[in-house]
Symmetry: C2
């Protein structure tokens, strides 16, 4: 179909720019990971699965974190090929988190495909090897995650950005990596607690996804570019608000999302007994009768299909999902207000609006 002038509104323009950026980011990561895999696994029997499974795992992503980081860069410096390569490594940091989280949560599916540990377990089983296939799969996925973690940093360091430029970014990068691990530990503790409060769930959510998905990448990009403190502050505020909203959306999808869209079974977060924001808020908002019902369902030994359905009804009745939709809307509005007065390049303001929408839309 021919492009008409009507298509070339600023919004389409930004979306084209993001699409092109996404393609470039994916190309860099793909090339880097393929080279590392060939180096580490090429011709070795034990690497026969890893050499194809790892690049494929990386290719499945949306590159949201590198996009935010590159927008941060563009708020303070001209477009730069080395900067694109540098931020692309953030996708590998995300792959590290996903590969290991899926082991810890015993999630069998990732983006509608078998999780990495499931693939390795199947590989072990098919070969009739000794010992537990599940255990082997878990260990191999943990090690794959370790490699992604190492490669992420290597990609940033070898991006071609000058050492002085990188030096401005390292403190942000280190904070992001450490928070990712400590945030996941906090998450595990909250999941294990009998009844975590809305406040403690919110605290973890802020530190983990909120910071790591939006705020830290933006701040990293801005720091690398040498943005002034007013711009960095505005991006940080936007990032905190959109990051939280992103996680609220993710939590709503974890309970109510369509498996065809989420790539996970219906109500996966309920089955995993995740201390998610939507559950914690439902308990907070419910009246005494509904709260008793919620707790009775949450305390069941096994969360089967019938329990999932009953929990979804009870959570809906509490009003928590509606409340979260309002929160998402208001956080995104406040985030856009925060960058409004920061004198960002006009196209970056538009791109941040598009990314806020993309991070929090109902169908992801």
């Amino acid at each position: 179909m021919a492009t008409t002038t009507a298509d070339l509104t600023p919004a389409t323009g930004r979306s084209d720019w993001l699409t092109a950026l996404g393609g470039e980011l994916a190309g860099h990561v793909d090339e880097f990971v393929a080279a590392r895999c060939a180096e580490q696994f090429g011709g070795r029997g034990e690497g026969a699965l890893a050499v194809t499974a790892l690049p494929e795992f990386v290719r499945g992503g949306k590159f949201l974190r590198p996009m935010f980081a590159y927008v941060g860069w563009c708020c303070g410096a001209p477009e730069d090929a080395a900067a694109v390569r540098a931020v692309a490594g953030l996708e590998l940091l995300h792959c590290f988190a996903l590969a290991q989280d899926d082991v810890m949560d015993a999630s069998e599916l990732r983006r509608g495909k078998p999780a990495l540990h499931t693939q390795f377990a199947r590989w072990h089983r098919e070969r009739g090897w000794r010992g537990s296939s599940d255990r082997f799969g878990q260990s191999a996925a943990i090690l794959s995650g370790d490699l992604f973690l190492v490669w992420s940093e290597q990609m940033l360091r070898e991006s071609g950005l000058p050492a002085a430029t990188l030096a401005r970014g390292w403190p942000h990068y280190d904070a992001m990596r450490s928070e990712l691990a400590t945030g996941q530990l906090a998450d595990l503790v909250n999941d294990a607690r009998i009844r975590p409060s809305w406040e403690s769930v919110l605290d973890v959510l802020r530190r983990k996804s909120g910071n790591y998905t939006v705020r830290r990448p933006l701040e990293l990009g801005a720091a690398l570019a040498g943005c002034d403190s007013r711009v960095s502050r505005a991006l940080g505020e936007y990032g905190g608000l959109v990051g939280e909203a992103f996680q609220f959306r993710d939590d709503v999808l974890g309970v109510f999302g369509d498996p065809a869209v989420t790539g996970k079974p219906t109500g996966q977060d309920l089955r995993d007994r995740k201390a998610s924001s939507v559950v914690a808020l439902a308990i907070t908002m419910a009246d005494a009768t509904l709260r008793r019902e919620l707790r009775r369902l949450l305390d069941r030994d096994a969360v089967d299909d019938e329990t999932v359905a009953a929990l979804r009804d009870a959570i809906m009745a509490s009003g928590a999902p509606d409340q979260l939709e309002k929160l998402i809307d208001s956080q995104v509005r406040r985030a856009l207000d925060a960058i409004d007065g920061a004198n960002l390049p006009a196209r970056m303001t538009e791109t941040l609006a598009a990314l806020a929408a993309r991070s929090t839309e109902r169908v992801q």
Copy 2:
């Protein structure tokens, strides 16, 4: 007891130097980890165990890898406080490997104390939290390992060595980190195979422990110091040989070691069905009758105390332990020959002899 002049032989002198170096290295790592723990866990409930358990875990080490790296440095540059800080981070790389290996091997003990995952599991259990305590412990130990991996690199980067000096070291450091993960994957595959060959065990042993314990640290230190290629080559050769001998010793201790010395139960490697060099060599050296007996014992569903005792007898009868002792001796001799003609500073030649002995001695 007063020191007499007789004590001040060169060997004692070197040992004093190593002891002082060990103290300095331990101090740096301790300070760094305490600061990171305070930053990440201070005042947070979910970090209440980690904030003490992680520093304690780090303190238990022998700092062998940083010592080798610093000797590599001293072969090409004067002693330097920033270089000591830089190589100290290698101990955290080792902690990363230990914390995660113990999860993968389900080892309950590390240096005679509960392994990190065992400590976290107990902590979960004592609080009466929901879900599997063992699973929680494993996840928390994996995350602790991730933090050690991140901190190791951070410590090297923040050591105070100039960027140009660091730039010479990164390729070696990256190779070491990646090999550690891919070597462990190869190890898992070998453990899972019904009967790995002596050759494939030797291949993994070379890539994993051989490289990572001695050779790569030495090469890293030498690269940071800008050693000439003749020195680097000699250190690499020494490192390959001593690294292998170190692992042979470790494998012998894993089957025959005294629990009071190894900090692990008797015959732990047999219980774990590790594809270790001593088992693979025993199968290779055994005559037909003994080989049948070895395979019968190795194929048993459970390796109990009686099986461990019978396996130890059969392995001893194969002659493999004696053969490994001869290999260890000859590798150490060849390693010392390799550095003999390299014109290293005299005290470094002596220190490398002391470290070769320390890495391969019968009681570690």
